[in-house]
Symmetry: C2
Subunit: 495 residues, 2 copies
């Protein structure tokens, strides 16, 4: 314990999870560590849910870095103790709760969230609840396997509860680079010019006296799965890598490309696998989430550096990471999401943004959050930060879903998260549409031809041609624009 809580004056604040949880009162806003189901607090949430089980009126606002695990989002949603949830989630129970109207969910660009907490846009943060590997001699906090919004919660909250997780190795110390920008109008340029740059400290500086409770635990994060690569994902990856090769050939991308951003899931994994199999090398990864396959690419030398805000590894991936931690320390950095997702940096370094669409329309608008216009899937997360500010913005999706009853290419998306102004390239297993410099009608023709599934091509062309004479710029018929979704809602098929 001496190594875990080095600040001697704080050792008296070591408490049980129950004692710490009792600091959390109804009506409070709690900001926690965690970004993807890793590095989030578990002991205090569990104790809290146990404690307030019979209190029907108990409600808190839960703010996190991004998604967190069942041991936080899940149990709290199931206990019905969340009033407001920000800025992102992926948990089944939480999704159910917000789609049933039990939880108010605000879906925010991750790069906006951290600074807007500091600006006071979302009210006071009462308690920061942070999983840590260590409290330093000075009373500073070393995060564990993710950073997310922890720095801003620690600076803004009135009180801090630290969960020291002894299940996570002390060797994690040094893997973090914590930098918090000033606020306008006094803000200076963020001094990161190369994705490998260290610009901050290896810990979160806090006023030690704000740490009111330290809880010792060894509870594990939810085990993180790794989406297998299927045939369609491989086809999408091949289409995309062919495009990169052409861009290099034509001088629009350097031979080692530009810093890559990539989400999670089958397609993202297929793309990284495809890059591993390609001729590309000496690449840099500047993204949010570092998954198992990023370790593969680092090991084989395809990637020379990976910067993110969370280690989203499988149990085997963590074992491997911890075993070779001294080696990875030179090639991996975890940053606050205000830096990993910062548009100033993303634009400066020229990210290649690769994200997943739920659906795209023929004019290039992308829906990445809502099913049939109403039901929230996860949230926009960091996709908007990278898409808007990146050098190139790419969206991938299989051309059909639900055995073909849903076309991912539709006349009009049922919700817009990324506008036609922001989408450079759309890729499906059918092909790739390079939309740069195309007018709406040219975009429509290209997307239908290259990306739509053969079963839906004629229907899409009919939609376009029916109205094109009347409204040639952006041909749309208000009475039919959303008729495919309407049909699916009524008949369970867009056909």
């Amino acid at each position: 314990m001496e190594e875990r809580v080095k600040c001697t004056s704080l050792r008296s604040r070591i408490k049980s999870a129950k004692e710490a949880a009792s600091m959390i009162k109804t009506g409070m806003t709690v900001g926690t560590s965690g970004f993807t189901p890793t590095g989030y607090p578990k002991a205090v949430p569990e104790a809290l849910v146990e404690m307030v089980r019979d209190d029907d009126d108990f409600r808190i606002n839960l703010y996190t870095g991004a998604s967190v695990g069942q041991g936080l989002d899940g149990i709290m949603a199931e206990a019905g103790i969340i009033n407001k949830r920000m800025p992102y989630q992926t948990n089944n129970s939480m999704r159910k709760a917000l789609n049933s109207g039990d939880v108010h969910y605000t879906d925010i660009h991750l790069s906006h969230f951290a600074q807007q907490i500091r600006y006071g846009f979302y009210g006071k943060v009462d308690i920061a609840l942070i999983e840590a590997a260590q409290i330093t001699e000075e009373g500073y906090i070393v995060p564990t396997t993710s950073v997310g919004a922890s720095p801003v919660f620690c600076s803004e909250a009135e009180q801090i509860i630290v969960e020291i997780n002894t299940g996570k190795p002390l060797d994690l110390c040094g893997i973090h680079d914590i930098y918090q920008p000033e606020d306008p109008p006094n803000r200076k340029p963020i001094p990161l010019v190369n994705p490998v740059d260290r610009i901050g400290k290896p810990y979160i500086e806090v006023e030690p006296d704000k740490i009111k409770a330290i809880v010792i635990t060894d509870q594990e994060d939810d085990p993180i799965g790794f989406a297998p690569v299927d045939e369609n994902s491989s086809k999408i990856a091949r289409n995309l890598i062919g495009f990169f090769e052409k861009e290099v050939e034509e001088g629009r991308l350097p031979h080692n490309l530009l810093p890559l951003q990539s989400g999670v899931g089958s397609v993202a994994n297929a793309v990284l696998k495809g890059i591993s199999d390609s001729e590309f090398k000496d690449l840099v990864f500047y993204s949010e989430v570092i998954q198992d396959n990023v370790l593969d690419l680092l090991d084989e030398g395809t990637f020379r550096f990976a910067s993110g805000t969370s280690l989203t590894l499988s149990p085997d991936g963590f074992k491997r990471f911890y075993q070779k931690l001294e080696e990875y320390r030179e090639k991996v950095l975890l940053r606050p999401m205000e830096i990993s997702n910062n548009p100033e940096i993303i634009r400066r370094i020229g990210s290649i943004a690769m994200n997943t669409a739920i659906e795209a329309d023929i004019f290039g608008n992308v829906n990445s959050t809502h099913i049939m216009g109403s039901k929230m899937m996860n949230g926009i997360g960091g996709s908007g930060d990278f898409t808007r500010a990146g050098y190139l913005s790419i969206f991938t999706t299989p051309s059909i879903a639900k055995n073909g009853d849903i076309s991912a290419i539709v006349p009009m998306v049922s919700h817009v998260d990324h506008t036609e102004h922001d989408v450079n390239v759309i890729v499906t297993e059918q092909g790739l549409a390079d939309l740069r410099g195309l007018s709406p009608i040219q975009r429509a023709e290209t997307i239908i031809k290259n990306c739509a599934h053969p079963d839906y091509k004629e229907l899409l062309n009919n939609y376009l041609k029916n109205i094109q004479n009347e409204a040639p710029h952006t041909p749309h018929q208000m009475s039919r624009a959303l008729s495919w979704h309407e049909k699916f809602v009524n008949t369970k098929s867009m056909r």
Copy 2:
């Protein structure tokens, strides 16, 4: 002329407009100066249109900074010689041409356009056609009343044609600050930390030998009107200024606010008038367009500095500006649009972005480009640059249009330019909706209550309530979401 073309070796390139125009061949891409109808070339376009009048096959691509005047967009659209147009326009004839499908128009974030020209996303620029006040001794180009995308056209084009406009005073020299960022991955931070900072040169550096023709003209820009302030605009302004006062009171904005960005038009003018009448002083304006009322605010000391990319002044405004040029030189700077609209800077300085919506929906999505989903009005311009990267993003619109037959607040917008993730505040003459931190359903209730016109409140509430039990997160019915637009298309009224 010695003062206008100081570079002696270039004087032999002085040619007639017709000679210069003959350099422009069919199929070429021409990038011109101009941002709003000021500072755009006039003599060569006029000669070109005259020259190719009988050539049915003659077509060029026209790229500009933003909108330009009748003497460029208008006459070329009327002559039918434009194939592709980027990135923004406001001209009647051009609007007609693109909405009839005669012109391919690509509507691009202004901050993206300049860098993506350099990246090669939009093909080669054959000729840069630039209005200038002077060619310096070194052969560099001093722009006139706007900068726009001129620097990037000059650096990327193979040949440059300069129109020296002797109708614009030589005293304009020194009012420009030209800085062009490097490209990734070698880009450094843009060194602008305060809106008053000079970071570049007072001229566009070019390879002098690329200047193949110099045309002397004194043709005037279109006279720029100034939208009068009506009663509804004044009400919108009062609602907004009340909000600013509250934000200052609650510590979320400093006493002199943060750098203001504002568009053009009646509401924008009313807001600046309102600020002039308020207690606010010592403000900074960091925007695109400097109109007559900005001079008023500078003169009276409400603004201490104004940075933009164009002087969009009335004839009287220009007279006044030129008369006191020595004084304004200390308080006014014109920058390339890649800097005026740069998200790195906008986020750093913390802009307050104030832009106009055509319509907004109850969930906070904003349409600023398309009428009834199909017909292009102007384009997104710089509104997305400021909205996404600013400290606060605000959209204004009167609550109704066309004598009440159109509600500007609708169930679902017919086109999305600014998503629910990007819109903090919506203001109409009815009131103001502060959307920060609200869930979709809370946003809907707030917008209907505070912003919708009384004639449409019940209809909007009915839409929401009808479906809210079925789809509580983002209540939408695909069959009715666009029914208000459908009704207007069919009956000329949403009622």
